[in-house]
Symmetry: D2
Amino acid sequence: MVVIMEVGAGKRQIDDVIARIRSLGYDVHVSEGRERVVIGVIGNERPPDPEPLSLMAGVRDVVRVSSPFKIAGRDYHPEDTTVRVGGTEVGGGELSIIAGPCSVESRDQIVETAFAVREAGATALRGGAFKPRSSPYSFQGLGEEGLRYLAEARERTGLPVITEVMDPQAVPLVASYADVLQIGARNMQNYALLTAVGDSQRPVLLKRGMSATIEELLMSAEYILSRGNMRVMLCERGIRTFETYTRNTFDINAIPVLKRITHLPVIADPSHGVGKREFVGAVALAAAAAGADGLILEVHMDPENARSDGRQSLDPRDFAALVRRLSLVAQAVGKRVSTMAEPVRA
Amino acid sequence: MVVIMEVGAGKRQIDDVIARIRSLGYDVHVSEGRERVVIGVIGNERPPDPEPLSLMAGVRDVVRVSSPFKIAGRDYHPEDTTVRVGGTEVGGGELSIIAGPCSVESRDQIVETAFAVREAGATALRGGAFKPRSSPYSFQGLGEEGLRYLAEARERTGLPVITEVMDPQAVPLVASYADVLQIGARNMQNYALLTAVGDSQRPVLLKRGMSATIEELLMSAEYILSRGNMRVMLCERGIRTFETYTRNTFDINAIPVLKRITHLPVIADPSHGVGKREFVGAVALAAAAAGADGLILEVHMDPENARSDGRQSLDPRDFAALVRRLSLVAQAVGKRVSTMAEPVRA
Amino acid sequence: MVVIMEVGAGKRQIDDVIARIRSLGYDVHVSEGRERVVIGVIGNERPPDPEPLSLMAGVRDVVRVSSPFKIAGRDYHPEDTTVRVGGTEVGGGELSIIAGPCSVESRDQIVETAFAVREAGATALRGGAFKPRSSPYSFQGLGEEGLRYLAEARERTGLPVITEVMDPQAVPLVASYADVLQIGARNMQNYALLTAVGDSQRPVLLKRGMSATIEELLMSAEYILSRGNMRVMLCERGIRTFETYTRNTFDINAIPVLKRITHLPVIADPSHGVGKREFVGAVALAAAAAGADGLILEVHMDPENARSDGRQSLDPRDFAALVRRLSLVAQAVGKRVSTMAEPVRA
Amino acid sequence: MVVIMEVGAGKRQIDDVIARIRSLGYDVHVSEGRERVVIGVIGNERPPDPEPLSLMAGVRDVVRVSSPFKIAGRDYHPEDTTVRVGGTEVGGGELSIIAGPCSVESRDQIVETAFAVREAGATALRGGAFKPRSSPYSFQGLGEEGLRYLAEARERTGLPVITEVMDPQAVPLVASYADVLQIGARNMQNYALLTAVGDSQRPVLLKRGMSATIEELLMSAEYILSRGNMRVMLCERGIRTFETYTRNTFDINAIPVLKRITHLPVIADPSHGVGKREFVGAVALAAAAAGADGLILEVHMDPENARSDGRQSLDPRDFAALVRRLSLVAQAVGKRVSTMAEPVRA
């Protein structure tokens, strides 16, 4: 349940409403918007009787939110949320392009790749320093060393950095280097981690679990939002189905569905969504046409020799060509590819 | 295995090769192209030794086709196949739009809808006369009466007609009215039916089964192709997954995958693929951006009162707006929406 | 909707009710039980107002059946249905064992196998004469020749014969040889075929489609039942999931679910359900423990050289050992393995 | 790769082999069995050349393990592993029964339930103190208070306690109260957590993720095993499929598959596997018949009023009846239900 205060409701009225809700045994989440204050009622599964609350001074409306997610829903926040990442806004009607290698492999590799993707049109750099791997015997990433290289690549190119965090204890460390914290598909329901990134107040890119429903994705976003961190971007990255020709099945339906039911920006990850380089471009164009706010793409200087996910990485040339095609499709649906405002450093 | 004859190989050389293959216990499928003859070797699962065949007079090459589909594959036929439907070609670099109601409900309904979709840009009319319904107690379609109304709509609008056939015995009847025979998802592996439409020599729209792999779809196409009917169009219409928010999960990956491995035209059915009207447009745009050769869309004059599938049908106004947006996306990926050459009758 | 007549309601009362229902635009399905008559109301999706019917003479009750299947449900027929197959009843509290090869390959093969499985405890013989194969280039079965061999095996062993039919036109032919008509998984929603076997009045073994829900399986059974053929046995044979280690995922949950919601006998097919010989026994024991009324098992004299499905076939020795273990598990859950009443011929 | 030493190989020989492997850039995992020492070679994806190692003194064999899991596989450890839990062994040919509520709700509730399940035949008590919930607004468990109540229930009944841990930082706390640490399905690929419980040296019950393959489950087990913690029990708890009638699809196939490819004990969770109380018994019997080493069952004194998962919880009476039936099925497959050796305290 969500209590929407009048424009201009005073602090005392707001405090009274909060006190009343708490006296009924519920917790509150207060969202102070530019125009008005909205109070989320958080508690066990049955919400309180809306009528007494709706009669209180300063209350404009009490909305019973029937969906299991509250703050993530358009009932609570009808307009699109935008998230500032570096110098650009994600979610504000443009198409943001995030690119970089699956794993940070060396200083030279990440810096070189950062320049290449910036040149081609990316406005953020991705790269894994802590890698979740099915096998304990596979390369697990460079760890903090990888984070330092990412920071160096940002320093030199101006691209903000997005990287995965897998352990709640590592959140402060990763947040000290990264602009955006990524929650991977395997951790979509790792609630300790969601709570930790919620508390970090950093922008978060939350990937859909490989067998998570759209509703479960929003519930996981709700874990972050309910800690007061509103800077959440959702990422469709393919779901697990019976089809084995492709690595995953990119759920294109999820793009318009999410755009309708949530105000949070929606990013598409065609690299994982299809898993084979030769199909990544088509799926990227499709996601842009379907209304995605951004794309995250794996780009490697030498995909054949990548330490992970080479099979689905584009080389810089193919990436640049794809950005040009994305630009045309974005225009066709009334958008444009996001560009960096500040002068490029080199 | 496929035996490719030299350009100019004589009838006798061809007959000798066929005789040799038969003497080894295999059957043949002879494809007489404009330039050369190609002979498919059909038999149990182990193909014959290619060497003796490759040494015969007039033989240019013997290709071992490792994929389980042969005639459907690009190994066998590298260029795109186009299928003539009414006055237009499907698969020739344009985007064909097929539209109409789920079910033919009355003469007026189908004629009125045909004019509306033609006006908006469709080049073929869809409509079900025989409806596969999960329940024996649901509306099963108007049957032959529905076919007559479809033919009348074609007569009046010039739009070729595509309609489903479910029973091998009904193929001659349906073929006597329809331009294209549709095989529904539930019948993708109904081999008696595939054989019957193969023998009909009519163009066929083959829908992917709701849990069929891409490879199985091509194997079912192979049943039709192996009867010598080369006019097969494939249709991605969503697969069954754990996600319940949408009716099916439209497999956008299948579009570029099919375009790469088969020469047959690929049609997308966003109406079934997502199953809710408000998301059909976004998925249609995505399919066009991903490289589909055509779209098949459910359009109803009054979706709220449709006898079937109203939930996923567009009204003519939304359909017309979508065609305009499709036109822009088609341009962005180097195509254009197919239009009818002949003067419109009314 | 189902109208339940009083015990002893007269023919005239029954006819009046039928006439009233028909006058409202509905069709009827009349079930004349030993005690009373039950009338199923068949029509479009909205049932008639129950009250006027409930006031008619001879009517005991009008039950609104909320589930989409009517005759298949326990609301309509609370007690277990049994189906006579040869000299035994399937579904009457015993565990029936059906066994035989995937395909009939020769007269000797099927006769020899029939003796072997009868010796080990089977009460019916399975064997495919018409084989649905994904590829048009694979062995498609011996056709009518295979049916003749099956009939000969029955003649010599006394085992009733169950075999698949794939084409509505072939139903009379197959029914002239077989005791039970099998509908394969690929044809579970082939409505022309369901109607044809419904009209044949032969017992039917209906296999669940590989991505069909339990409810859809019952709706397909309803197609057969609504033609007045009550001798339907359902078969769980594994569903398609993301797991690739096994051929399918045997849905053990479906056994108790079906036993609760339908009165029809439930047969388990562990051979297809798991797809690898070494796991078939464990899944068979599981299905028996979960309450299946019978098992259908692939047995081949020489699995390594089977023309189809050798990977999942047991040899006669392993089959005999499994029957002994099944007997113990059946006892543990209060059943016994079904045995043939008549003296064995040889 | 695994190096198997001769029976009686000396410490020096073993140390030499280890030194050689390390000099090649690999890590080792040394398993000192009762008879002989086995050395796992852990490293990047390409193993070393086996020949030089096989020629070293004391080496009996060098086994290239082709499967991606090593220590979890039967190649590495052919005999069944048993895990001591309280006074009983899990995995030693008996059927262990673990039971208790989904959540610890109060001291009285857990103590009363513990007595009830022990009375009925359980040898371990389950109960959640930290609950993973899809919604941040649902009951999250009593936390440490719940752990204290579980410990008190153990104190009074003698039942060892198994409870979930969700956060790596909480492992020491949970391990200070619990006998077995449970990793829930959502955390099966939470590698920080797997590493933490690996280091804890406590027995671990690892649940299969809802869309994890059997191989991925074993890879996650490998994370724990590779920390030297060999006391891992695997738990099949149902996978996510398209079927919506049941909460999950219990993968019965996984039981015999796991028993064949791994030496670790396999526990079945029919409560989550089917998700509706009325079907739990049938699935439990099936799992026992299929060869499970144990069952974990949700039991609540008053399922209708449970704070979580009431829909799938048995009451003590139904649980006791089920244990009696399980005992019969266990006997039928040559096992017996595990019982507590020590005198019952009260």
